[in-house]
């Protein structure tokens, strides 16, 4: 059996900034943009693995860009080259590259840049307007900055690019399709804006996960078609299908 569960070692763990790290692992990986892996670098505690999006697959390596939040990501941040890591994936539906047609916007908020980087790489040949918001110093923008003709950056403290939230500098009306990944609140606003403008928007949801493969039903999102599993039916959903409220 060609298992999607791999026990391997870290190639490199790069500290990107105070609380952002980029872990890379060597191997012959193939996946769709927007898919994720369950990462684990511990035996029993914490009990669950951590879902992290594919940040890039390139040059015989897969990389994950992540931010230290709690127990799991703190352990991940301390890994060094050669340390053991277990990864399970690729998981989830991912972004549909065929939908990247016409006038396209990609929108990231904070760590939302992680999956959009790999998505961007997969459709780099097309024309895309990239919008990225950060609290302060941007990160993970190398590829986009180098290749994308239209990049808008906003920082909450105004230290780089425009000041404030990136969504305040974004107008969906100009686009045929929008792809977005960021904090839930941001995505809720983007969905609303796009709905009003009649523009389809695909968002990547971040729900807590246990199995990551559709077996436990803890990661559901409310949709107009009933509860759907973020880990298998998602994490990418068409915004207009989601029922967004404080419960999703």
């Amino acid at each position: 059996m060609n298992s999607k569960y791999i026990e391997t070692v870290v190639f490199e763990n790069e500290k990107v900034n105070e609380c952002v790290y980029k872990i890379s692992i060597q191997g012959d990986f193939e996946a769709k943009p927007g898919q994720f892996y369950m990462l684990r670098a511990w035996d029993e505690e914490p009990v669950l693995s951590r879902p992290i999006s594919i940040n890039d697959i390139e040059g015989g390596k897969i990389s994950f860009l992540f931010q230290t939040v709690g127990r799991g990501t703190n352990i991940l941040s301390k890994l060094r080259g050669g340390d053991e890591i277990k990864i399970m994936g690729p998981l989830g539906n991912g972004f549909d590259v065929d939908k990247v047609k016409g006038k396209v916007a990609m929108l990231s908020g904070g760590m939302g840049i992680a999956p959009l980087n790999y998505f961007y790489r997969s459709v780099m040949d097309r024309e895309i307007d990239f919008y990225a918001g950060f609290r302060n110093t941007p990160y993970g923008m190398e590829l986009v900055n180098e290749h994308c003709k239209s990049v808008t950056i906003a920082t909450e403290d105004g230290s780089v690019g425009k000041t404030g939230y990136i969504i305040d500098h974004f107008e969906p009306r100009d686009y045929d399709v929008v792809f977005c990944c960021g904090p839930e609140k941001m995505m809720a606003i983007v969905i609303k804006k796009c709905e009003e403008a009649g523009v389809p928007v695909y968002v990547s949801m971040e729900k807590k996960m246990a199995c990551g493969i559709g077996a436990c039903l803890v990661c559901t999102c409310k949709t107009k078609d009933g509860n759907k599993r973020s880990c298998t039916d998602g994490p990418v959903f068409l915004g207009s299908e989601l029922i967004i409220n404080d419960e999703c």
Binding site: M1, L48, K86, M209, C211, A215, C216, L217, V218, N227
Partner: protein, 298 residues
């Protein structure tokens, strides 16, 4: 050597994937040969389809997790129509886990399953995540006795009754279910727990309480399984926090005929295989010929 017999159903080994953690048996097929399993217990079914609970459904805790899925499921009919064949094709014994809010629902669901191609009906009288029901049956033994008796009368298939660790008296509960006609007892379901988000100053779960599972509950689960095994004559299926072959062997030595593996599937997708292989190699090392030779040995 590894085979066991529970309510006249032969399992190729005593390791069963626990309800609610293994979907309908297909999801793990990318990770291991699911036919290795002794059995699979389906996601909890109800007669009427359920969307499950809103809001937060999961919260990780030390040594385990809390869930409040609330029996999201397509309903027994749809299960039989769309999921059962796939589950059967796994090659593992098929256990249909049945929840309910009313005795009538239990009976209606059980009757449908009785005519379907399932090996065992596991009556879940213990789900703590459904406000109107399930749990209500799992606390007081007289209530449990009644529902088990009525379902028993309605079906011919082997009936396994799954107990809640939140029962007032687990031994009394097991005896009441046995007396009512259960062919087997499985335990434990999740422990009733709570978590508070100190920043929002609100409970994490909309239902306030949620079910705790995983390694954290093992010592309590093992104790309850031991006590129940001492008390009842029907075969007992033990579970609660099992995450290694050693854990599984403890439950068997406490008297269990078989074990179920729940939360541990999230630790490692093919952990059931590790557990099966681990039990087998322990038996070889110790010169134990059959599972029953170590069952209840302590």
């Amino acid at each position: 050597m590894m085979n066991v017999n529970i309510c006249s159903v032969e399992l190729k080994n005593p390791v069963i994937a626990a309800s609610g953690t293994f979907g309908f048996g297909q999801e793990y097929a990318d990770y291991f040969d699911v036919s290795r399993l002794g059995g699979i217990s389906s996601k909890g079914l109800t007669f009427v389809p359920r969307q499950g609970n809103d809001w937060e459904r999961m919260h990780e805790v030390k040594g385990g997790m809390m869930n409040s899925v609330g029996l999201q499921n397509p309903g027994v009919k749809e299960f039989i129509k769309s999921e059962l064949e796939g589950m059967r094709n796994t090659g593992a014994a098929v256990i249909a886990n049945l929840g309910g809010s009313t005795v009538e629902d239990y009976i209606k669901g059980a009757k449908l399953l009785d005519n379907a191609d399932v090996d065992i009906i596991e009556l879940n009288i213990s789900c703590p995540n459904v406000k109107e029901g399930g749990m209500a049956f799992g606390i007081k033994s007289c209530v449990a006795n009644d529902v088990v008796r009525q379902v028993r009368a309605a079906v011919k298939k082997p009936l396994m009754v799954k107990l809640s660790p939140n029962a007032q008296d687990i031994v009394e509960m097991a005896l009441a279910c046995e007396e009512a006609g259960a062919d087997s007892i499985s335990l434990v379901n999740t422990f009733k727990g709570m978590a508070i988000d100190i920043r929002t100053k609100k409970p994490v779960f909309k239902n306030l309480f949620a079910g705790v599972s995983g390694p954290a509950i093992k010592p309590m689960a093992l104790r309850m399984v031991y006590e129940v095994c001492k008390a009842v004559k029907v075969p007992v299926v033990g579970m609660g926090g099992i995450s290694s072959a050693e854990d599984a062997i403890e439950f068997i030595m406490a008297g269990a005929h078989a074990v179920q593996i729940g939360t541990a599937n999230f630790i490692k997708p093919d952990i059931c295989v590790d557990i099966i292989d681990g039990i087998e190699s322990f038996m070889k090392q110790e010169g134990i010929k059959r599972i029953e030779d170590m069952r209840g040995i302590i």
